[in-house]
């Protein structure tokens, strides 16, 4: 039909639910970046000397690096001297010791986001760490987890309480000078989560971290480290939101995962940073380095991500399959509406024998959204009988958006088997009409079709969050058809 795309264009009018600002006393570092600021952050956190040295080394590397511009995203130059690298809620006495000491405003913020931090109210079986701007404000269920030897705390606390573990693993998967944004993060990272699962332990509950950027003009640089010892299992989920602000805010996180022999890490993300308004004003620039090392035999790392937020997304959660028979998985749904741009995908690096990887990527573009899947599969010489399956589907809503697929393949062992499938489809006027004829509103119809498209990925999420993610997809497309 000739007029088919007009109504679709109009649906793309969205309300961002998490866009409120919390009025709270904050302590800031002055804007700008230099060695003093790096030292200031380190001192604020009472860090050991080796860590300061490590940060400074990263900073000096970073100075020599240039911002990568190969991704298919365009954005104005970032002035790194105009950003605050540290902001923290000013609490009476350093960090709160228990939830009772947490500022009620902060607790209220998380309640508003639907993440009650009071343990009794929390979904049974989910432990939460909440990171507000640069610091972790609360970690729940710690005592219960400690009973089985699981360490789940903020990164800053881990530096104090388990320095030997942090020292051993920090930078072991994403080296200091890996890339521009990870080097920046290494210099100025503020907080994040630390998880350690001892040998043979199956973590008894879902672990999750909620990241919230609140302060204006502030960058958020979290650092997350998860170590799963031999034969252990953990499922971890992170969620992210930010207030609606007119200026862009920088978010550059680093996540490192290490899975030892027979260990499994399931890492899920529901990313809903503020995407900017309809015209592309404001929004988070999300430059994230996530990498997992399947160190031991038969280890397994799964990344599942639902990316609905951010003005710019630059993110490639990857797996290094070092252990023989290890498995890497990447399940992704990324949605770009309005002027959002996402360049996302994964890298699977096969080193060990019989290593297997699966990539399922679902890109949804609406409005003027631009979506690029960038994926690399590398089979190294020693990776005898390695296998990869890649499926990469794009869904277009309207005719002003774009979807692009950039697969890289590098095979150095002829016994490997690779399969690649890709499809691009458009939400059809016929599908919408069919749904509406049965009584669904146009928005519900779009949400239904999109969720159907993303189902293969959504079903990988922990149950508690699948419903949330499903709703988020619907909300993010509100106004996508009219």
């Amino acid at each position: 039909m000739s007029t088919a795309t007009e109504p679709i264009d109009e649906i793309l009018k969205r309300g961002y639910d998490a866009g409120f600002v919390t009025d709270i006393e904050q302590e800031y570092a002055p804007p700008g970046l230099n060695e003093q600021i790096v030292a200031f952050i380190s001192e604020k956190k009472n860090e050991p000397e080796w860590l300061l040295a490590w940060r400074l080394k990263a900073y000096r590397h970073w100075l020599k690096m240039t911002e990568p511009r190969w991704a298919k995203v365009s954005y104005p130059e970032i002035d790194y001297q105009d950003i605050c690298y540290y902001a923290a809620p000013k609490s009476k006495d350093d960090a709160p010791k228990s939830l009772d000491e947490v500022d009620p405003e902060l607790l209220a913020t998380y309640e508003k986001l639907g993440i009650p931090l009071h343990e009794r109210e929390i979904l049974a079986g989910v432990a939460v760490d909440a990171v507000f701007d640069s610091v972790s404000v609360a970690t729940t269920f710690r005592a219960k987890l400690a009973e089985v030897g699981v360490i789940f705390m903020s990164f800053s606390e881990a530096v104090q309480e388990h320095p030997e573990l942090v020292k051993k693993y920090l930078g072991s998967v994403v080296p200091i000078a890996d890339n521009f944004f990870s080097a920046l993060n290494s210099a100025v990272f503020s907080d994040g989560s630390f998880v350690y699962i001892p040998k043979g332990v199956r973590c008894p509950m879902e672990l999750s971290t909620y990241f919230r950027i609140n302060a204006a003009k502030t960058g958020q640089f979290e650092r997350t480290l998860i170590v799963a010892e031999e034969g252990s299992y953990v499922s971890y989920l992170e969620g992210c939101t930010a207030p609606m602000r007119d200026e862009n805010q920088l978010h550059a996180a680093v996540v490192e995962l290490v899975a030892h022999k027979d260990a499994q890490i399931k890492y899920s993300t529901v990313q809903n940073w503020y995407p900017g308004d309809e015209n592309g004003k404001g929004g988070i620039f999300n430059f994230v380095t996530k990498r997992g090392l399947c160190e031991g035999e038969r280890s397994k790392i799964s990344w599942t991500q639902v990316e609905t937020g951010s003005a710019i997304t630059w993110k490639y959660p990857s797996c290094i399959l070092k252990g023989d028979n290890s498995i890497g998985e990447f399940y992704s749904v990324a949605l770009s509406n309005h002027r959002q741009q996402a360049d996302t995908g994964t890298k699977m690096i096969h080193l060990g024998k019989n290593t297997r990887s699966t990539i399922i990527s679902k890109g949804i573009s609406a409005g003027h959204g631009q979506q690029t899947y960038r994926g690399g599969v590398k089979i190294m010489r020693g990776a005898t009988n390695a296998r990869n399956y890649t499926q990469c589907d794009s869904l277009l809503i309207g005719d002003k958006c774009g979807a692009h697929t950039v697969p890289y393949v590098d095979v150095r062992n002829s016994t490997s088997q690779l399969e690649h499938e890709a499809t691009t489809s458009r939400i059809g006027e016929d599908q919408l009409f069919y749904c509406r004829q049965r009584g669904l509103s146009e928005e519900d119809a779009v949400s239904l079709i999109v969720n159907g498209f993303a189902k293969q990925v959504l079903k990988e999420l922990p149950m508690e969050f699948a419903v949330e993610a499903q709703k988020l997809l619907g909300v993010s497309l509100e106004g996508a058809v009219g």
């Binding site: 000739s2 109504p7 009409f433 069919y434 004829q437 049965r438 009584g439 239904l448 969720n451 189902k455």
Partner: protein, 250 residues
């Protein structure tokens, strides 16, 4: 229940329907027959509110309301159902999930509480049995990988679930094997009621042997050229459209 007056419709600038008059009362079954491309599906789509069909003249009144003013979902909520000639697939959305969303949207419009999962499944089982749609098909993604006949069965299953007041069935019989035709016709006869009207678009007398229509219309080149009783369909089957067309020549 439905009154179409002098309806003219254009698609991409070319006139397809050229002055249709048609009135259907509650409880009646009307059949529309006509050669390929004569405008039958166009009429069905216009009644359901599909975009891209421009009404250039005429009116359609449904239950006393101006039907053409209403959105497709509002029409559905008011009880208009279209059984599609070519039902589309919605990958990843299970048939029952889809129908539950649809049914609850309709119930909401009628001020009723949504059906819970248990009541819904009970209803679904009952209605699927009506057209012998297998459990497996009710759970599969909407129309995905369905055979032609299975899609048609699925349309009638959906109709049975949604209980419309006006069902427009566009070639629900094409693609069906003889047994399936009988099953669907039986299902439709069960759904026949004094409150419900049906507009059945078909090419074949066979269906009308089972679902005996009250009125038969012949649509040729965007106009209803003949209206009669069930015998008109029989005559068409025997003589073809040429006779009717010739009879029309002045």
């Amino acid at each position: 229940m439905l009154k179409i007056e002098n309806l003219h419709v254009e698609v991409e600038g070319s006139p397809i329907l050229k002055g249709i008059d048609l009135e259907i009362q509650a409880g009646e079954v009307h059949a529309i027959m006509g050669p390929n491309g004569s405008g039958k599906s166009t009429l069905a789509y216009v009644l359901a509110g599909r975009e891209g069909y421009e009404v250039t003249k005429g009116r359609v009144t449904y239950k006393g309301q101006d039907l053409l003013e209403m959105s497709p979902e509002a029409r559905a909520a008011e009880g208009v159902f279209l059984g599609f000639q070519y039902p589309v697939a919605i990958p990843g959305v299970s048939n029952v999930y889809f129908l539950k969303a649809a049914l609850n949207a309709l119930r909401k419009h009628r001020g009723e509480d949504p059906l819970d999962a248990i009541d819904f499944m009970k209803l679904s089982k009952e209605k699927a049995a009506l057209v012998q749609l297998s459990d497996e098909l009710t759970k599969r993604s909407v129309n995905e990988g369905f055979s032609g006949g299975e899609k048609k069965r699925n349309e009638i299953y959906q109709m049975a679930m949604l209980e419309p007041s006006l069902a427009v069935l566009d070639e629900t019989d094409s693609g069906l094997d003889i047994d399936a035709l009988k099953v669907i016709a039986d299902g439709l006869n069960t759904l026949r009621s004094p409150e419900r009207a049906m507009l059945v678009i078909t090419h074949y007398q066979r269906l009308l042997d089972y679902i005996v229509p009250d009125v038969v219309h012949v649509l040729i080149d965007g106009q209803i050229v003949r209206t009669g009783d069930k015998d008109l369909a029989k005559r068409l089957e025997a003589e073809g459209y040429a006779e009717v067309r010739n009879a029309m020549q002045p």
